[in-house]
């Protein structure tokens, strides 16, 4: 298979004379005080994997308790703490930091920049997170226990949380500050640090999706901060923002929360769209189909995410016109999303496809995320939502979007770029075993939950009626299998980083496009100290 000679030229211009490998030698200098985008990206990814394991352990507690009817393992209040913390940890601790980690590694390399625009703020953005999550998790060991009202923190229920609630709110504030600073850094980097010739419509899709995600974050994280601040004052300072007895409005919280919460869903999935748009062309050996329509579809999805929030609260008693507006606006999202799915399929169509592990996860994403999208359409129908609302159907829907959606895309990204990051190849055999076990178990875990929801099983309960027993047992078996399978992932990553004897080439794959593949594997500590000149044929969609 031919390779582009342009890449060799670019490599020579910046790497031959200056290897730029001046790493700090001390442990603290290297990791605590680092301002290097690759080191900070690594820190984010390690943190995310740790949180993924902690959040996963909580999921195991939930599925173990739900294995059969009755209360077996944990007290109901602790069960509620597990469901709440599982969500907070997975959303804010695992998926978001993982995407920021990949953005740190990849955005500068993809646009030909030497580093992020604001390296010291980058360090701060990361090091806030371990403290935020230590504080959040510490509430589980406090007398009043952790938050137990669900990650949506609806009042008045959440206001029954004890004194630990202040720790939860402060932790969320810190996560928000971290996310906003990270987003500002990404936007400032993309707008100001691009190499000559890297015009906006030549940027890789991962960079585009992150640019749009960063704007979403800046727009909605302050809204969440405002909402939890009002909860804090309601709880501790006798205000009545959401307390009906004092003239407040609990439904107002739901409006504010979901004005943040729905764009948040897209914050978790848009970078995944970018990753899939990078991987499918490489293993299909074709350019991405419809690059510019992909960019516009992403921007459209981001815009629409701001005007659909009330579909999460159809049952609160809105005027009919409001329900119709939010129903149709929500359904409209399927248009740009459909553009993306059909573009991915068209990219693969008649391609010379091979099925390495990243490609398997990417195809798994397209198929399974689409199932999550279709159940989302069902939930968007106002009349039907009155039956589905607060049932396991909703749990099945958003887990299909987030697990074989975001998490599979993260796995795909890891297998795709880890050889570039480390200079070592992972075990393809174990990668494929990881994929197939994950793909089977994730469906055993979540598909039966659709039936549970349609049959009326409510979410967030530790005990249930006996008629739900069979599907719950199947779901739990799938959950244990999926959890155990992720230990394989940890093993594959560990082996790749520390033990693998197979060295990766600069290109790693057959003819991948993008500036990051012009660098050595692993890239020098300081890459693109001399900016490359980006030409027309160096971007995949230009063909």
């Amino acid at each position: 298979m031919s390779t582009e000679t342009t890449y060799t030229d670019v490599n020579e211009t910046h790497d031959e004379h200056d290897h730029g490998d001046h790493k700090p030698t001390g442990f603290l200098d290297r990791w605590l005080f680092t301002t290097n985008h690759k080191d900070i990206g690594t820190l984010y990814l390690i943190f995310s994997l740790t949180m993924f394991m902690i959040g996963g352990a909580m999921a195991m507690v939930i599925r173990a308790e739900l294995f059969m009817p009755g209360l077996q393992l944990v007290e109901p209040d602790f069960f509620n703490q597990m469901t709440t913390m599982h969500a907070l940890v997975m959303v804010f601790g695992a998926v978001m930091p993982a995407w920021v980690g990949f953005a740190n590694w990849l955005v500068p390399m993809m646009i030909g920049a030497p580093d992020m625009a604001l390296p010291r703020m980058n360090n701060w953005s990361f090091w806030i997170l371990p403290f935020a999550f230590s504080m959040l998790l510490s509430t589980l060991f406090m007398d009043s226990g952790g938050p137990a009202a669900g990650w949506t923190m609806y009042p008045p229920l959440v206001l029954q949380t004890g004194t630990s609630f202040a720790f939860v709110v402060f932790a969320i504030h810190m996560m928000g500050v971290s996310s906003i600073m990270g987003s500002i850094n990404i936007i400032a980097t993309i707008f100001n640090m691009r190499a000559p010739g890297m015009t906006l419509l030549r940027m890789p899709m991962f960079v585009w999706t992150w640019l749009i995600t960063a704007f979403l974050l800046i727009a909605v994280m302050p809204v969440l901060a405002g909402a939890v601040t009002m909860l804090l004052t309601d709880h501790f300072f006798a205000t009545n923002f959401f307390n009906a007895a004092g003239g407040g409005d609990p439904v107002m919280f739901q409006h504010i929360f979901w004005f943040f919460g729905h764009p948040e869903v897209y914050i978790l999935i848009l970078p995944a769209f970018g990753v899939i748009s990078e991987i499918l062309p490489t293993f299909s050996r074709k350019p991405l189909f419809g690059y510019s329509s992909m960019v516009y579809a992403t921007a459209t999805i981001a815009f629409l995410s701001f005007i659909v929030w009330a579909h999460h609260m159809f049952t609160v008693g809105m005027p009919l016109q409001g329900e119709l507006f939010f129903m149709y606006a929500t359904m409209l999202i399927s248009v740009p999303t459909g553009v993306k799915v059909f573009n991915w399929i068209s990219t693969m169509w008649q391609g010379s496809m091979t099925f390495e592990t990243p490609m398997l996860f990417a195809i798994g994403f397209v198929v399974l995320f689409t199932i999550g999208g279709l159940s989302g359409l069902m939930l968007a129908i106002t009349a039907a939502d009155f039956q589905y609302h607060d049932t396991y159907f909703v749990v099945a829907h958003f887990h299909y979007v987030l697990v074989p959606g975001s998490i599979f895309a993260l796995m795909a990204a890891t297998y795709y770029w880890l050889p570039k990051f480390t200079g070592n190849m992972y075990s393809e055999k174990w990668g494929k075993i990881h994929f197939w076990l994950s793909a089977i178990s994730v469906n055993v875990l979540f598909f039966p939950q659709h039936y549970l929801g349609l049959a009326g099983m409510p979410r967030r309960i530790p005990d249930y009626s006996p008629q739900f027993a069979d599907f719950n047992m199947i779901s739990s078996i799938g959950g244990f299998a999926f959890g155990a399978t992720q230990l394989i992932f940890v093993g594959v990553v560990w082996h790749c980083v520390f033990r693998s004897k197979v060295k990766a080439t600069a290109m790693v794959w057959e003819n991948p496009r993008g500036l990051e593949w012009t660098l050595e594997s692993p890239p020098a500590y300081h890459s693109f100290t001399t900016p490359p000149e980006v030409t027309h044929n160096m971007v995949r969609h230009a063909e």
Partner: protein, 43 residues
């Protein structure tokens, strides 16, 4: 005085990036204040 054009260009880009960051930071704070403010004074 640094006469390396690449270093100067990088310095210029970073200065511009800092300005971008201030604008974005201001927008984030403004959204936060607007939400809290509208909740307090809009009632």
């Amino acid at each position: 005085m640094n006469n390396d054009p690449q270093a100067n260009e990088l310095k210029r880009k970073r200065a511009q990036a800092v300005r971008t960051a201030w604008v974005l930071g201001f927008i984030a704070v403004a959204i936060f204040v607007t939400f809290i403010g509208s909740a307090i004074f809009g009632r």
